[in-house]
């Protein structure tokens, strides 16, 4: 089971790395914020896996904090930093 936990944690870290591309690419500020939100959820899952793998219960508290605070940055973005006029046109060639 140890191996599985760590493999999955590694897999999620790779996942997170792939999500980084969206932060860099955008195109809109909302996209970047969204990807950061993904990081929070993924980090929670990773911490829970690591907690089970290492038997260190305190890591669940770290995951709890992530889950609680994930919203704060996003709310700060929506309420403060999001410009009223988004200059970027959201056209993705994909």
């Amino acid at each position: 089971m140890q191996t599985l936990y760590l493999t999955l944690a590694l897999f999620l870290l790779l996942n997170l790395g792939a999500g980084m591309w969206r932060v860099l690419r955008g195109p809109s500020a909302a996209d970047r914020m969204l990807a950061a939100q993904l990081f929070g959820t993924t980090a929670v899952a990773m911490l829970l896996l690591l907690a089970q793998a290492s038997g260190n219960a305190a890591l669940r508290d770290v995951a709890l904090l992530f889950a609680l605070l994930a919203a704060v940055t996003a709310v700060a973005f929506v309420r403060r930093a999001w410009p009223e006029t988004e200059q970027v046109t959201d056209d993705d060639p994909n």
Binding site: G19, W21, S28, T41, L48, V78, N94
Partner: protein, 99 residues
């Protein structure tokens, strides 16, 4: 490995696959609304499956409770934030994608 272990392992792997689906959606979907849809749904289900798998292995009910609380919090934050982002994007005139 007991049957419970196998079940837990299956749930964990399934959860990880949902995370993968969420990331693929984030990278490949055409606009902010579809990406929101991919991320919030897939990741929250993925985390739910992982939490269930880990809860099967948990050493006490307190741990199960904490795991469920964490999942509930992520659901709450994810749902609220995706609503806020989507309505904000609409208000700013980002048009939803049409084929």
């Amino acid at each position: 490995m007991t049957p419970t272990d196998y079940l837990a392992a299956t749930l964990l792997v399934a959860g990880a696959l949902f995370f993968l689906a969420g990331t693929v959606g984030l990278l490949r979907f055409p606009d902010v609304y579809t990406r929101l849809h991919a991320l919030t749904k897939a990741d929250n289900v993925g985390l739910g499956l992982m939490v269930t798998g880990l809860a099967l292995q948990a050493e006490s009910w307190a741990v199960v409770g904490k795991l469920l609380l964490i999942w509930w919090l992520v659901l709450l934050a994810g749902a609220s934030v995706s609503y806020l982002i989507a309505s904000g994007a609409l208000r700013r005139g980002i048009r939803p994608w049409r084929r």
